[in-house]
Subunit: 198 residues, 2 copies
DNA sequence: TGATAAACGGAGGGTTCCTCCGTATATAAA
DNA sequence: TTTATATACGGAGGAACCCTCCGTTTATCA
């Protein structure tokens, strides 16, 4: 099906530029939110605006690429936590991690948010990663009988995004975020399981 | 302190235009999100861009005004529900209402979200209304012993915004939203109260 | 009916988005 | 090495948008 492999090596300058653009964009987005001027990013990177647009056809594309890796790390943490903690603890720990992580980078929150808004491309890039991570955690918890069997990954995801987004709001947000995580945990516990009484 | 009351009646055309701008803006925001062109709004309204800017010094101002009333209605519903339902039921019903209501108008979600993001003016306009509504509901529930006494209004608010924002995402979002509401309700129930067993 | 404070409208300067295309260069073949 | 060319680069430029400024119009009040 694939036509004979392309003959040429990708040009080195191209790769370099792409890399550097992503790095600059990451900082810019983190510092100024998702509305930074793309021309600004190109300028700071030291390339022409045309170069930026050749690598990333539009703003969403660059956002998606920027935070694909980050989301990957977050998703990876789920498996690690499960290795070292009982399922329910792992779930709680991961949820806190999620809130911290996303809260620190608002772009990601608005990206995850836009799950709804039509910019599906963004979600398509990283949504499944997160969903799978949550699903993994939930499945283990269910296997343990620690949580109700009808809990859906997306349910938690939706709530967490909201919490993460409002993170860093005022003083006390951190405590608030932890409280919400605990409320969610309490809410999905299996009510008639032994642990529920805790 | 106030200087002698102004002598002139406000001009009729001014009020008319302001009203019409708000109405058009409301539809435009609902249909296209918070990034609609203000010139477009002025155009559709049939006034010059200058007129729009005289009435609303910037985009945030117009958003704030547009959704101030809506939020007011939502807040009012809390009291009504409390009149006709037991506290916990009222709370659940109101939360569902919140999700539906905000979900239908993305602007409001992103406005509420921006609670965090620095655009505090937006939140200042309507945030307290919502917070008070939730506080009222929670207080009644606490008085009944139906929920844990440490539940904070903002906690629920944060989670709800996330759910609302992702509302209308894919098929099944509605069911998902209801599930999350129930998870939250379960999470804030007073565990050792009589109702908890339900 | 006039005077005038108030409101209107839109031109215009600045910024950003994204496209297009002539120029430069890294790669591969000679 | 040299040459040919596919590939990438850079930035000018048209369109849309933001918001300001100010000359013109008009609703109010005497």
């Amino acid at each position: 099906m694939t036509p004979p492999a392309p003959i040429r090596k990708p040009r080195a300058d191209s790769q370099r530029n792409r890399e550097k653009l992503l790095s600059v964009a990451k900082d810019a987005f983190a510092a100024q939110g998702p509305d930074v001027s793309l021309e600004e990013i190109a300028r700071r990177t030291g390339v022409g605006i045309g170069t930026l647009y050749r690598h990333f056809p539009n703003r969403d594309a660059i956002i998606a690429d920027v935070y694909r890796r980050e989301v990957g790390q977050l998703a990876g943490a789920a498996a690690e936590l499960l290795d070292s903690h009982p399922p329910l603890d792992a779930l709680r720990a991961w949820m806190r991690l999620f809130v911290d992580y996303i809260g620190a980078k608002k772009i990601m929150a608005s990206a995850l948010n836009s799950l709804a808004g039509g910019t599906t491309e963004l979600y398509a890039a990283s949504g499944p990663l997160i969903t799978n991570a949550i699903a993994l955690l939930l499945d283990r918890c269910k296997a343990d009988g620690a949580i109700r069997p009808d809990a859906e990954p997306m349910d938690l995801m939706m709530a967490l995004v909201g919490v993460a987004y409002n993170t860093s709001a005022g003083p006390g947000w951190q405590a608030a975020a932890l409280r919400v995580v605990d409320i969610l945990i309490a809410g999905i516990k299996q009510m008639d399981s032994p642990q529920a009484a805790l």
